[in-house]
């Protein structure tokens, strides 16, 4: 089986012969349909942290010379013929996607907050919601409590959305394609992924520091540059 890492344009630099892919396997380039795909022979690709890091390391190596389309981990191709067929079938779609991300990298911002503090602040502002959050004494009270808990969740989501909008505002990337994930888990208000020209990464980091200073009540984490995982 062949494990695919990423798709590039034909003629983009080939992988370094010393580059190690999954479990140390060599990485090769297969070209066709004006595209190229980076591949390694594998027995089986288990989604362990090591394998995921190895996959991304190869994608990252490609990103250094030209922005690739990263392939999601978890699929394999039986042979080179199948890889060639895949390039033919996806030719138009992938060429257009490569044009869209050319010259860009993905930056990721994670906004952590204190879920309990946020909830407490919310209840302090809305005493009406706080009243029924004790132990219910009847079925009717139970249903009422459920209803109000849903309201609290909705308000938390609203706060998270407003917070992310503030962060995005300070990052000044109004034009940049953005993907946003609200409350992926309670302690994370949201995730932002933004596609920015690679020459602006330094400026992006500077604006991120400004956002961090402006919002001391939450914790901001920056990651990247990534290949454009969130924009393909």
């Amino acid at each position: 089986m062949l494990h695919p890492y990423c798709v590039r344009r034909a003629g983009d630099p080939a992988p370094d012969p010393a580059l190690e892919g999954l479990a140390g396997a060599a990485v090769s380039l297969l070209e066709g349909a004006g595209l190229g795909v980076w591949l390694s022979p594998v027995e089986r690709a288990e989604p362990t942290p090591e394998r995921l890091r190895e996959h991304d390391r190869v994608v990252r190596a490609a990103l250094r010379s030209a922005t690739p389309l990263p392939i999601r981990f978890g699929a394999a191709l039986p042979d080179e013929e199948a890889a060639q067929r895949m390039l033919e079938e996806r030719r138009e779609e992938w060429r257009a996607a490569l044009e869209r991300v050319a010259g860009c990298v993905e930056m990721g911002v994670r906004v952590d907050w204190e879920p309990e503090a946020e909830r407490a602040a919310l209840l302090a502002a809305e005493p009406r919601l706080r009243e029924t959050l004790g132990t219910p004494a009847s079925g009717r009270e139970y249903l009422e409590r459920r209803r109000r808990e849903r309201q609290v969740d909705e308000l938390l989501q609203k706060r998270a959305r407003a917070l992310l909008a503030r962060v995005a505002g300070i990052l000044e990337t109004g034009e940049a394609p953005t993907t946003q994930t609200l409350l992926p888990r309670p302690e994370v208000a949201g995730l932002l992924a933004q596609l920015v020209p690679r020459s602006t990464v330094g400026a992006y980091r500077a604006r991120f520091e400004r956002a961090r200073a402006a919002l001391p009540e939450v914790e901001l984490h920056l990651s990247g540059p990534w290949a454009p995982y969130s924009f393909v």
Binding site: D56, P177, Q180
Partner: protein, 89 residues
């Protein structure tokens, strides 16, 4: 936006401190960000699947099963699934 660049070829990324900092992999929680991208984003291809979750092989299954198996894989790795993902133009 990338699409406004007229499809200009990439220029080599300047090997500045920003890039090297990330490459060092010292960022806390970087594995969470990595898992979120590598397993849940990126181009989906319909190859033959070699994912194996909890000892159950999912070879030669279709795309819908891949998506399920990825969620399962993330749960089994102790990673959260979901969140409300919103796309903006």
């Amino acid at each position: 936006m990338a699409s406004e660049q007229g499809g200009a070829r990439d220029t080599a990324f300047p090997l500045d401190a920003d890039w090297e900092l990330w490459e060092s992999g010292e960022e806390p929680h970087s594995l969470v960000e990595l898992v979120n991208r590598v397993l849940d984003r990126g181009v989906v291809i319909t190859g033959d699947i070699t994912l194996s979750v909890a000892g159950v092989d999912l070879v030669y299954l279709g795309l819908s099963v891949v998506l399920t198996s990825v969620s399962t894989a993330r749960r089994s790795m102790g990673r959260p699934v979901g969140g409300v993902r919103e796309e903006e133009p």
